[in-house]
């Protein structure tokens, strides 16, 4: 039996459980079922539950799965981990995997995961912490520029492809401004961490180094803020007030609100963005710093499945994960919703069945070519805090004119260095 919980069902379910407990009924799954927790929306939940059903139908132990939104997920997972009741199978993000692994909140999988012979080597590598495998990638994706194709066609401008540059952004910015329909060329990317990372990597630098330090200097950061400030003043990107309306939900994005024709996104998110947009969308690479310069992108594990550190049955949990990523039927159900499948035969099997946006995403990730550079080291502890509490705030201060780009760049590097030193002492 599979137990699945959304928000409302959770309330109803918990009262039913309380009633069952009061009546002395002990549900069968309470002893043996594996618990699975993941973040995502209803579409992801439907696909995931279909796979757990498939797994059970094959005579395997049942799963009790629960999903939450990204924001609610981390507090809940952390609280459960602290209380010693962490689920057996945990959806894990690149940002948190080091913190969870170094605290033994997730378990190493090398000896139990079974055969992953067809798995992409770079995706396996991405799930390792200190040489041990802690997470199995559920899909590869890459950062990408989300492009409103219809908006480009409306003003007679060519849609950017993977060769486009920051200089093109200025040219396109002029074109949109002279069209005068109120739409800007790009959203404000100055506070978007992956965009900064990509820009630095094209310059041969990196956001973080392997020894948990910043991979760039205050001068680089000043240059970054100055570049975006220039775009802002010339009206190539949306103004600060408009950008601040973006809460991170797809519905409030600058492209969805028709404030900008392009914005930074991820390859796997084309599907969700297209589902709420009536204009036809596509994706292109992030802009290059100069024609022919690559190395900014990489194939990132979009998310992992990890096994909880306190699980009673590590092998059973690992067996489900293996099934999830290698079974062709499961792969057909999951599609590319979590990113491009990392298992070669699954990928080949599902390719012809995909819808148009999924095909675009798959082709994009498969054909990055010279755009791809080396996989960066996993982000250090407190990388999340630097993104949320520092980059977001200082980029807004610069955008609203409360700080100069020079001041903002210096403050960012100074504060980020202090946060990293404290967190990784």
């Amino acid at each position: 039996m599979t137990i699945r919980l959304g928000r409302r069902q959770f309330l109803m379910g918990s009262s039913a459980l309380a009633a069952a407990a009061a009546a002395g009924i002990n549900p069968a799954w309470a002893q043996s079922a594996l618990r699975l927790i993941f973040w995502g929306g209803q579409a992801r939940a439907d696909r995931t539950y279909a796979v757990t059903d498939l797994y059970e139908a094959a005579g395997n132990p049942g799963l009790e799965a629960e999903f939450l939104s990204w924001n609610d997920y981390w507090p809940k997972l952390a609280t459960q981990t602290a209380g010693g009741t962490a689920p057996d199978i945990i959806q894990m993000d690149y940002r948190y995997i080091v913190e969870y692994a170094t605290r033994n909140a997730i378990a190493p999988l090398d000896d139990v995961i079974g055969d992953l012979g067809e798995f992409d080597a770079d995706q396996l590598e991405g799930g390792k912490v200190d040489g041990q495998l802690y997470g199995i990638s559920l899909g590869a994706n890459s950062v990408a520029t989300l492009v409103n194709k219809a908006a480009f066609e409306a003003i007679g401008e060519a849609v950017p492809d993977n060769s486009w540059t920051y200089a093109d952004l200025e040219r396109i910015g002029e074109a949109f401004n002279s069209a005068g329909n109120g739409m800007r060329a790009f959203s404000d990317g100055s506070g978007t961490e992956p965009m900064l990372d990509n820009w630095l990597r094209q310059r041969g630098q990196s956001l973080y180094t392997a020894d948990n330090k910043l991979g760039f200097t205050a001068d680089d950061m000043v240059e970054w803020f100055q570049m975006w400030d220039g775009f802002r003043q010339k009206g190539y990107i949306v103004d600060a007030e408009t950008q601040a309306l973006d809460t991170g939900a797809p519905e409030s994005s600058m492209v969805a609100m028709k404030r900008a024709a392009m914005m930074p996104s991820n390859s796997n998110q084309l599907v969700i963005h297209q589902s709420i947009n009536d204009d036809e969308l596509t994706i292109a690479s992030y802009p290059r710093i100069a024609p022919g310069v690559g190395g900014g992108h990489y194939r990132k594990p979009s998310m992992f499945f990890s096994v909880g550190g306190s699980t009673a049955d590590r092998e059973a949990a690992a067996a489900f994960i293996n099934f999830f990523v290698t079974n062709p039927e499961a792969g057909a159900i999951l599609g590319v919703e979590r990113g491009i499948p990392c298992n070669a035969s699954v990928r080949e099997a599902i390719t012809p069945t995909l819808d148009e946006q999924s095909q675009i995403a798959l082709n994009f990730v498969a054909n990055l070519g010279d755009l791809v550079g080396a996989l960066p080291p996993s982000p250090p502890a407190a990388a999340g805090e630097i993104d949320l509490n520092l980059l977001r705030v200082i980029s807004q201060e610069v955008a609203f004119g409360a700080r100069s780009p020079e001041d903002g760049g210096k403050a960012f590097v100074e504060d980020a260095t202090a946060i990293l030193a404290r967190a990784n002492a």
Partner: protein, 313 residues
């Protein structure tokens, strides 16, 4: 306001030995009925409060067991945390403006309703409604729509040819939209004011009218002085509520306090420290400081109350 406490103790003059057992016998069923509440109170409220006090002296991060760090968390708060200072400034601005405005608004509406009009229960219910809805997620989302760049407020202003900013996403105004949201929820102090106004004897107004006092003068010399106990009560409750305010800022800024931390309430900062950055120890210290702050404010209000609160006895 007068509170009539029920006479709980049995009025017998029983001798010393049996007094306790007899008292216990008569109270036992009461305590038994209270037991579920006691379990909740001690297990879910007092217990966590005490453990958070302990955790405030540790570096607890939810995933590993806590280590004792002494006063380091409290020290960091005051010496090495600019965001703490920012959140204090935001919260104090919110409290200092939202509480007086809300009370003034509630009192004005209460006086209006107290003049006796047709359909009073309906108006009372309608004015109270925002208080019930106010802390809800739906209202916070609605607020975003109303105060956005192309929202209702700016559409209204554009009738007069005014081009308004995007109130909710401009750091100069965003906190004010939250203050307006709080003032809009004036229902519960209004109901209490209305009850207080009903208790003022009518003959005082009649006597004052005979002596030629204007309505304005009657308000300042009769209504307000006699209402001060109610004002005092409302001020304390609303101040505590304002310090604790969390949901609107959390929803409207998606938990970030954005733009530029301009809506980073103290509670929101505390929440982020605990659940975004997993610094449970530091967050506990922040929580205890907030408790201390509210206690000081309340104590201060009680100390000054004897100079401005008039009880009619």
């Amino acid at each position: 306001m007068t509170v009539h406490a029920a006479d709980a103790a049995p009025q017998d003059a029983a001798s010393g030995t049996s007094k306790w057992s007899r008292a216990w016998q008569s109270h036992a069923p009461g305590y038994l009925f209270l037991l579920p509440w006691f379990i909740g109170f001690f297990g879910l409220t007092i217990g966590p409060i005490i453990s958070s006090f302990y955790l405030s002296f540790t570096d607890f991060d939810l995933l590993t067991s806590p280590d004792w760090v002494g006063f380091a968390n409290y020290e960091r708060m005051f010496t090495n945390d600019r965001t703490f200072a920012t959140s204090m400034r935001v919260t104090f601005t919110f409290v200092l403006f939202s509480v007086p405005l809300k009370l003034a608004f509630a009192l004005a509406i209460a006086i209006l309703l107290n003049r006796g009009m047709k359909g009073l229960p309906l108006y009372r219910a309608v004015f109270y409604l925002p208080s019930l809805l106010g802390a809800s997620v739906a209202i916070a989302i609605l607020w975003r729509q109303i105060f956005a760049g192309d929202g209702l407020v700016n559409q209204f202003l554009s009738i007069f040819g005014i081009v308004g900013p995007s109130w909710i996403s401009n750091p100069n105004y965003s906190l004010w939209t939250l203050i307006v949201l709080s003032v809009w929820q004036f229902g519960s102090p209004m109901i209490i004011f209305l009850a207080g106004l009903r208790q003022i004897p009518q003959d005082m107004y009649e006597a004052a009218s005979l002596d030629g006092a204007s309505k304005w003068r009657q308000f300042w010399k009769i209504t307000l002085p006699l209402l001060t106990p109610v004002v005092f009560f409302n001020a304390i409750i609303q101040t505590i509520e304002a310090f604790k305010s969390f949901t609107p800022a959390f929803i409207i800024s998606n938990g970030t306090g954005s733009p530029i931390n301009s809506t980073l309430f103290y509670t929101l900062y505390l929440y982020n420290e605990a659940f975004s950055y997993f610094r449970m120890g530091y967050a506990s210290a922040l929580a205890w400081f907030l408790l201390l702050l509210i206690a000081c404010f309340t104590a201060f209000s009680f100390l000054t109350s004897k100079y401005w609160v008039h009880y009619d006895d």
